[in-house]
């Protein structure tokens, strides 16, 4: 019970950091209402899927006895590649002639692209938000061990009120020590993992992610490192009011970066565990976690 106030402190504290950014959501995502909406918003599905699928473990091995880890994982996702920053937009509606042009995605640069049409008409494609970096943090609990398996859970929620409503993130997963069957006395560790996570962003949409993969690396008393290869899937549904006079717009997205390759290393500092983790397939995600390991 003594840990409950700390958990609440994590949730409320980080919720405050998100609060203002959420106020402009509708204005940002409603820049497009037609076929271009998918291309404009696609990087969100890719980036959020990769971000939340990073940094689940705090050490390479799975302790054989009972253990509890309580920590916080912070992510920084940086967009370097043009594929996440640009897409091919097509002029829509009655605009003539129809033209295709390379335009910014929501994570692209703050530049408006305009093409000219018949008789003084012109068509401007919206700019991106110009922010190629996303930083956020979630608390995590890991509990084990049951038949060589540990379980983890992440949860964060905050009610912004107003039109946005409640932001809720939750996820859970398990990791099984498969090395225990054939690597009993080795420092080389092998484990398999599955995780499911869900993000509900008020009335605007939701994201559901799955990932499954293999960790392999060495574990010493203080230091550990590992590599990871896995498959990830993210399904994102976005709903917004394109116009006060029209029905709501629904956009369904699936991540286009199913392969997840990453590496990490960790240190034991007294009762604390510090872990650094990086995913290197588009986009680049860096995660740092710090927590208590009992």
């Amino acid at each position: 019970m003594k840990r409950l106030p700390i958990a609440l402190f994590f949730v409320l504290g980080y919720g405050l950091c998100f609060s203002v950014a959420a106020q402009k959501v509708d204005e940002i995502i409603s820049s497009y209402t037609g076929a271009n909406a998918t291309g404009y918003l696609q990087p969100l599905a890719d980036i959020l899927t990769s971000t939340f699928n990073t940094g689940h473990i705090h050490k390479t091995s799975i302790d054989s006895g009972f253990h509890l880890y309580l920590g916080i994982t912070a992510f920084n996702t940086t967009v370097f590649d043009d594929k996440s920053r640009y897409f091919t937009g097509v002029t829509e509606g009655l605009f003539s002639p129809t033209q295709q042009v390379r335009v910014p995605t929501i994570l692209g640069p703050r530049e408006i692209v305009t093409v000219n049409g018949l008789n003084g008409t012109s068509y401007s494609f919206p700019a991106g938000i110009g922010n190629a970096s996303l930083t956020l943090a979630v608390p995590q609990i890991t509990l084990g061990t049951l038949f060589g398996t540990e379980f983890n859970a992440r949860f964060i929620a905050y009610d912004f009120g107003g039109d946005f409503g409640k932001l809720q993130f939750m996820g859970g997963g398990l990791r099984h020590d498969i090395g225990r069957y054939f690597l009993k006395k080795s420092r080389f560790k092998l484990s398999a993992e599955y995780c499911y996570q869900q993000l509900k962003a008020g009335a605007y949409g939701n994201l559901a992610t799955h990932k499954a993969g293999i960790y392999a690396g060495h574990q010493w008393k203080i230091f550990n490192y590992y590599g990871y290869i896995g498959y990830q899937n993210g399904s994102m549904n976005i709903r917004y009011e394109g116009s006060k006079d029209a029905s709501a717009v629904h956009v369904s997205l699936t991540n286009q970066n199913p392969l997840l390759i990453s590496a990490g290393m960790g240190l034991k500092l007294w009762v604390f565990r510090l872990n650094l983790h990086g995913s290197f397939i588009r986009p680049v995600v860096l995660a740092a976690s710090l927590g208590l390991n009992f």
Binding site: K24, S31, T114, S124
Partner: protein, 229 residues
Amino acid sequence: MKKLLLLLLITSVMLQGCAYQRRKVTRTVTKTIELNFSINQVGNFQTFRLIDNRDIIDLFSPTDNSVTSAEIEKIDIRSVKIGANVIKPSNTATQVVLSADVMSGTLLNQPTRLLNETKTISIGGDGIDFGNILGNAIGTSENITLHNALTILNSQGADKLKTILVENLNNINRAGLSVRLNGTVPAGQRLVMNLTISIEATISFTRCEEVFILSISPLHPPRTIDECK
């Protein structure tokens, strides 16, 4: 208990990594300017619709009028639609030639042609046949069949329309926007119809918005940035 207090302390330090920043954000908003004309005239006519300054601002920024505090990057006229519905049996006109002008406020002596004359329009049966010059119907609005009117849009009128919108959104000009509809009907005939002109306009603007940035990296603590100075 000591461990938990230490964790609480570390968490508190990490939470200091929230910074308040003012960033420039560019937005693009598309709106439709709809002009409805109810005509009940014998012979030639002119009728106009005024959209006042307040309505122009409300159209592009219905919630917080933030456009007026933004730097307008540009305005585009994407498309123009025109449609009409003849009211029977009051209507006796068999033909009408339509055109439209745009002007600032009520400056009716300074018109710029917005829609060129549509000379082949003729009335037959239940409605006005725009099909000959404007192609097939593209939709309906309140029982009015709409046609793409890009071919009769006048580029000088489109430029004038953009100028008036920008001036009103910047409050340089508070007179609003007028569109005048001109009609030529055969002598002695009464034209009774509802006519709609829909103009799709896009405004792109940049404004300052306040955002919070979170960072827990001691190497890259969040900075207080003001891009709007």
